[in-house]
C-alpha cells in the first residue's frame, strides 16, 4: 500500500498522461447530471460529482454482450472482451457494490465473462465530495470503502490524498509526476472526510443498524405486511429501479442468427425482477404475477437473500438512484424498512 499526495493539477496531468496511452473511463458532466464515459481529456473529469445516472456496473456486465458464437453443426465458441481500461471516479457505495458482484460472479460457478472484464479494469475510486439528493449510504454503512479499488483518491481541500492499494495501483501511481509523501495532518484530514461522509450521506435515515434488516424481514408479519400491496398498487413495473441499481445484475439470454443462417450468437441482456414475465414459464404459468410480490421479492433480495450469500453485507448500498428513478416514488427502500420497523414494534 502506498500513500501519496498530489495537487489537483498534478492529478489532472496524471490522468491526461494515462489517456494518451490507455482507455480511460471517468465521470463527466451530462447536462446538469453526471455519467461514466470515455475521457478524451482530464479536464472533463468531474470528481466533485454527486451521483452518476447509471452505476459503473455496465463496464463489467454490459447491458448486452455476446457470450458465445456458434456455427450450426460445428458447435459453440466462447467470446470474451479483453480490452483493458481504467475506471476513474467510482464512489465508495459503487465500489462496494462492485465488490459484492465480484463475489457473486466468482463464487460457486465462476463467470469468466464478467471476471475477465473485471480483471482488465484498474479502478480509481474517489470519496464523495458532493452528497446527492437521495443518497443514504451512511445508513447502509457504505459511505466509505477501504478495499476493492486499485487507487483511492480523497479530496482534502487543496490537494488529493492518493492511496494505491494493490500492485496494479502502485504501478499506475508510479507514473504520476509530482507525487509527494503524505503528512500525518493530511491523513487526519482524510479521516475527517470519511467521518463527515459517514454522517452526511444520509438523506433518508434508516431506523436501525442495517445488519438488523434480515431479522426484521424474517418476522412473520413482515412478509404479509400491507406495505407490499400499497407499493405494488402504484408500481408500473417499469424496471427503472433494476436498471439504475448498482447491485442488480439479473440477465436474460437470447440466441440470434446471422443472415447466412449458418452462424450466429448467444447474447445476454440486462433483465429485471420487477418486469412482467420475469417468472413466466413455457405453458404460461407465472410465479410472481402480482406486482406487490415482485416489489417484495426485490426488497427481500437486497436485505436478506443476497446478504446470506455474501457474508451478511447488505445488497442495497444506499446510492439513492432508485429513489430518483422511480416514476411513482415507491422505490425508496428506507421508507419500506422503516415502516416495518415502526409497525412491527421491534427491539433495536
Amino acid at each position: 500500500m502506498k500513500l501519496k499526495k498530489l495537487t489537483k493539477n498534478a492529478f489532472t496531468n496524471f490522468i491526461d498522461s494515462l489517456i494518451r496511452t490507455q482507455s480511460v473511463i471517468g465521470v463527466r458532466a451530462k447536462g446538469d447530471r453526471f455519467d461514466f464515459g470515455p475521457l478524451d481529456s482530464a479536464k472533463d473529469l468531474r470528481l466533485d460529482y454527486d451521483v452518476t445516472l447509471q452505476p459503473p456496473k455496465k463496464f463489467f456486465l454490459p447491458p448486452s454482450e455476446t457470450l458465445l458464437t456458434y456455427q450450426t453443426g460445428a458447435g459453440y465458441k466462447s467470446e470474451y472482451d479483453d480490452m483493458e481500461f481504467i475506471l476513474v471516479g467510482v464512489h465508495p457505495y459503487d465500489m462496494i457494490a462492485i465488490n459484492q458482484i465480484d463475489k457473486l460472479f466468482s463464487q460457486d460457478n465462476y463467470d469468466a465473462h464478467y471476471m475477465r472484464r473485471r480483471n482488465n479494469a484498474t479502478i480509481i475510486a474517489c470519496d464523495v465530495v458532493t452528497p446527492s439528493k437521495n443518497v443514504f449510504a451512511s445508513s447502509m454503512g457504505t459511505a466509505v470503502v477501504r478495499q476493492g479499488y486499485d487507487i483511492l483518491v480523497t479530496d482534502i481541500g487543496d490537494v488529493y490524498v492518493v492511496e494505491a492499494a494493490t500492485e496494479k495501483g502502485e504501478k499506475l501511481l508510479s507514473k504520476a509526476k509530482g507525487a509527494v509523501d503524505v503528512s500525518k495532518q493530511d491523513l487526519d484530514k482524510r479521516q475527517r472526510v470519511w467521518d463527515q461522509n459517514s454522517l452526511q450521506l444520509n438523506k433518508h435515515k434508516l431506523k436501525c443498524d442495517p445488519s438488523y434488516l434480515p431479522k426484521l424481514l424474517d418476522m412473520e408479519n413482515a412478509y404479509t405486511h400491507p406495505v407490499w400491496e400499497e407499493k405494488g398498487e402504484l408500481c408500473f413495473a417499469c424496471g427503472s429501479c433494476n436498471q439504475v441499481c448498482p447491485t442488480c445484475y439479473c440477465f436474460n439470454v437470447q440466441d440470434d442468427v446471422n443472415w447466412d443462417l449458418k452462424t450466429g450468437r448467444r447474447d445476454r441482456f440486462w433483465d429485471g425482477c420487477m418486469l412482467d414475465g420475469f417468472t413466466k414459464v413455457a405453458g404460461g404459468h407465472e410465479f410472481r404475477k402480482h406486482k406487490a410480490d415482485r416489489f417484495k421479492h426485490r426488497l427481500y433480495r437486497k436485505a436478506k437473500y443476497v446478504p446470506a450469500k455474501i457474508g451478511g453485507e447488505m445488497a442495497c448500498v444506499g446510492c439513492g438512484r432508485c429513489v430518483s428513478a422511480c416514476l411513482t416514488d415507491i422505490a425508496n427502500p428506507v421508507n419500506v424498512y422503516n415502516r416495518l420497523i415502526e409497525d412491527l414494534g421491534t427491539n433495536l
Binding site: T72, F251, F278, G283
Partner: protein, 279 residues
C-alpha cells in the same frame, strides 16, 4: 484481486451431443436418447441439463433416465415453446448443445435406501421421476415397497406406454394410473391423481414420498397428503421455474432465498416452510 489464469471453463459454453434416437411419444412429447462423444454425463437422479438449439435458445430439461442406463442419457421433452418446438423436429444424427448436469437438490437416492418409496406423478412429471424409478428398479433390493401413482390429462397424452405396461405386470412394485378425462378406450381409473392417494393409504406411513407434476398439482397433492399426518421431511417436491443460466447467476429461478437451478430442483417439503413462494 480474484485469480484469473485466462483458462477458466466457460459455464455458459455447451458441449455438443448427438441425437442417437428421437421418437415422438405422442402429439406433444418427444423422446431423445443422446450421447456425448464417448463422454458420460455423470449425473444423479433429479438433475437437469440445459439443452441448446443454436439460433433458437436453451431450455432446462430434467434427465429422464437413471444413471444406471448405459446407452447415453434420455430426455422427454414436452412441446410448449420456441426451443421445445424446435426439439420436436430433431432426428437421429442431429446435434444439439448440452450444459450440465445441474442441480444439487436431487432425489434422496441414499436416504431412501431400506425405506418404502411412493412416487406421485402428474403428466410430463413422470419423466423426471423415471430417473429415480428406474434407478430403484435397477437396485431393487436396496429399497422397500415401491408405489407409483400416475395421473395424465387423457389417454392420448400418456407416454412410455410399454414401460407402464411392464410396471403393471411387475409383482415387486404397485403401479396405479388414472386419467383426468376418460374415453371409450380407457378402462382404468378416471379422476385427478389425488383420487389415487386413498387407495394406497397403507403405503404412506413412513414412506419417502416424491411428487412431480405441473405447478397447480402440488397444492392439491399436499392437501390430500395432509389427511394422513405425514412428516414433512418425508415429502420431496420436484419444482420448476423459468431458467436462463442454470448456474445461479441470472436470477430467474429464484424462490425466496433459493435458486431452483442450484438448491433444487428437488426440495424437501419441510424446507419449503421458509419459502412461502414455493407452492
Amino acid at each position: 484481486m480474484h485469480e484469473c489464469s485466462g483458462v477458466e471453463k466457460d459455464i455458459y459454453l455447451p458441449r455438443l451431443a448427438i441425437v442417437e434416437q428421437a421418437c415422438l411419444l405422442n402429439e406433444n412429447k418427444i423422446y431423445l436418447r443422446l450421447a456425448m462423444n464417448g463422454e458420460s454425463l455423470d449425473y444423479v437422479p433429479g438433475q437437469f441439463v440445459e439443452v441448446s438449439l443454436a439460433g433458437i435458445g436453451e431450455a432446462p430439461i430434467t434427465i429422464a433416465s437413471s444413471p444406471t442406463f448405459k446407452d447415453g442419457f434420455e430426455l422427454v421433452v414436452r412441446k410448449v415453446g420456441n426451443v421445445t418446438n424446435a426439439i420436436h423436429k430433431l432426428q437421429a444424427g442431429d446435434k444439439l448443445g448440452i450444459r450440465g448436469p445441474f442441480g444439487k437438490g436431487v432425489y434422496p437416492v441414499e436416504e431412501s435406501k431400506g425405506r418404502d418409496v411412493v412416487f406421485i406423478c402428474g403428466g410430463v412429471g413422470l419423466a423426471p421421476q423415471r430417473s429415480f424409478i428406474n434407478y430403484i428398479l435397477d437396485n431393487r433390493d436396496d429399497y422397500g415397497d415401491v408405489t407409483i401413482l400416475l395421473g395424465t390429462t387423457c389417454r392420448a397424452r400418456r407416454f412410455f406406454i410399454t414401460e407402464l405396461q411392464s410396471w403393471s405386470k411387475r409383482t415387486d412394485i404397485q403401479f396405479l394410473e388414472t386419467v383426468d378425462q376418460g374415453d371409450d378406450c380407457w378402462n382404468g381409473n378416471v379422476g385427478v391423481v389425488t383420487t389415487l392417494i386413498p387407495k394406497i393409504e397403507t403405503k404412506l406411513k413412513s414412506a419417502v414420498i416424491l411428487v412431480c407434476g405441473p405447478p397447480v398439482m402440488y397444492k392439491f397433492v399436499l392437501m390430500a397428503l395432509q389427511e394422513y399426518g405425514l412428516p414433512h421431511e418425508n415429502i420431496y417436491l420436484n419444482l420448476e421455474r423459468r431458467m436462463k443460466c442454470g448456474v445461479g447467476k441470472c436470477g430467474h429461478c429464484q424462490i425466496n432465498n433459493c435458486y431452483v437451478c442450484m438448491d433444487g430442483p428437488v426440495f424437501r417439503y419441510s424446507d419449503l416452510a421458509a419459502m412461502p413462494e414455493a407452492i
